[in-house]
């Protein structure tokens, strides 16, 4: 899936309103603190959640145009919260762009529910049509697409949860494979990296090269079986892959769960970028927090080297990241009250190109940015 354009607003006067924005493959959200970048990411992830799962609806009005399996769809959805705390769907339109114009797929207003032009029995207004009709052939790919929108969380719990050790049958069949395993976004990093090393060794090598470049004190990295690290463990017939590093001047292997949080974070980002499905959308908020300068700088060049076609929507305040990501990919946030204006970086390209100043310096001197939150 790729988001082509996105718009979100809440109905109250004091509630969030984001102007419509056309997104690209790489989208760097920049703006002063408090300009709404994180909220913007949250609203995209919330939409993905209510499309993919039966999680309670969140209220708001979304308009999104996206591409899935080379078709373009328009989806508009409005949900309202009532005084009993329940949120119900008020309106929903889903259509597909074709050579003959937009063909409606879903039309929903109140209790009226039409699917491909035919009225269908009353269905719950607490769920979106993409979730309710996810088994229908027409809807299945869209449901899968929204499931591929992922938001990376870097809390300590999330890091530890992702670096967990998981066992698989030692004689698993090759068909049980890569795609199935890798696309299981619930799998931990150790398992994902094991399958990556088997199925796409060249990508695994790029990942390892970057990792040792970011942390030059690492001599080598390997995927080991937990039994090798803990020979006293009883044989279970299971295989537990563990990503391990060997540091210079240290004579034992260090498993991923014993790495520093910065090293875990970098490993997680590298793994995400390599493993994430091509049609995936990856949301990431200020990954530079709590990372050393070497661990921050790798990201833009890594993305360039991996030549990915995935869609990234990330936020950053870091000069290096901002300088390295082309101005065309910036989205500059500016907030007045609850209304957020988003200016395209491409509008700054010509002006910025005239100056010798670094792009980041020009950005922080742009009044739209440095007066990002109007008083």
């Amino acid at each position: 899936m790729k988001i082509i354009s996105y718009e979100y607003k809440q109905s109250g006067e004091t509630e969030w309103k984001f102007s419509k924005v056309e997104l690209r493959n790489m989208n760097l959200l920049v703006g002063d603190s408090g300009t709404g970048k994180t909220v913007f990411l949250n609203t995209i992830f919330n939409l993905a959640s209510i499309a993919f799962t039966s999680e309670p609806l969140l209220y708001g009005h979304w308009r999104i145009t996206f591409e899935q399996d080379k078709s373009v769809y328009h989806w508009e959805i409005e949900a309202e919260q009532f005084s009993n705390g329940k949120t119900l769907l008020m309106m929903e339109h889903l259509s597909q762009e074709t050579e003959n114009g937009n063909i409606p797929i879903i039309e929903r207003k109140g209790d009226l529910f039409k699917f491909s032009g035919k009225e269908i029995p009353k269905l719950s207004r607490e769920n979106t049509s993409i979730f309710l009709l996810r088994e229908e052939e027409q809807i299945k790919p869209l449901h899968r697409g929204f499931g591929n929108i992922s938001r990376r969380n870097f809390s300590e719990n999330a890091l530890n949860e992702n670096i967990r050790q998981e066992s698989i049958s030692a004689n698993f069949s090759d068909e049980q494979t890569y795609l199935l395993k890798l696309r299981d976004l619930d799998a931990g990093v150790n398992l994902k990296l094991y399958f990556l090393s088997r199925e796409k060794p060249e990508i695994f090598q790029i990942l390892c090269d970057y990792y040792t470049e970011v942390f030059p004190f690492i001599e080598k990295v390997e995927i080991k079986d937990l039994k090798e690290l803990k020979p006293y463990m009883e044989a279970t017939g299971m295989f537990t892959p563990v990503f391990c590093i060997k540091e210079k001047y240290v004579d034992h292997w260090i498993p991923a769960d014993q790495l520093s949080s910065g090293m875990k974070k970098v490993l997680l980002v590298l793994t995400d970028v390599c493993i994430f499905p091509e049609e995936g959308i990856y949301l990431m908020d200020e990954y530079e927090n709590s990372l050393g300068i070497n661990a921050i700088n790798f990201f833009p060049s890594f993305l360039a080297d991996i030549e990915t076609d995935k869609q990234f929507i990330i936020t950053s305040h870091h000069p290096y990241i901002i300088n390295k990501i082309p101005v065309e990919n910036w989205f500059i946030f500016h907030r007045k009250g609850s209304e957020i204006k988003i200016r395209y970086g491409r509008e700054n390209v010509e002006r910025f190109a005239r100056s010798k100043q670094q792009r980041f310096i020009q950005l922080i001197n742009d009044p739209f940015y440095n007066e990002g939150v109007e008083q």
Binding site: S355, K356, Q358, I361, N365
Partner: protein, 175 residues
Amino acid sequence: MNMFVVVEGEIGERRVYEKWIPFVNPKMIWVESIFDISENNFAIIAGGGYPNYFEVIENAIDDVNSADTVDRFVIAVDSEEMTFDEKYLEISSFLANKECSASMFIVIQHFCMETWALGNKHVGPRNPCTEILKKYKNFFNVLADDPELLPGYPPADLNRAQFAEKYLRATGTEI
């Protein structure tokens, strides 16, 4: 007359100079970028603090030369822990071999812009109400003594620039 100013920090000084320059010379009109300058205009760029501003100054000179509309290129930075003369020498040495189509001026804010603000007799701590301002005034009275001589504030481990900022904030809360 057109002017381009590099200031030390990010936002604070920019806002002050943006108001101050037209206050001193009402003909001067602020524009967003050096490339918007035409007649009686000035633009300001923030240097991002020491030592980042050296790169900004260097690139600003290139921009002044390519824009070719600037008469005065002004660099306004803090001396911080240096003496006025040491900072002036540091900046002038840096500029010594640079070719700039505009006349270059160095403004040393000794030792930071907050120090200047503390010298404003209209905002000084005449009758401090808060405990913190009373402590600061007892330690160093900016109404009686030259704020440029303000020392650090050992009870809170503040150097003189940090102390000047805290002092100014404490004064500001009483206006």
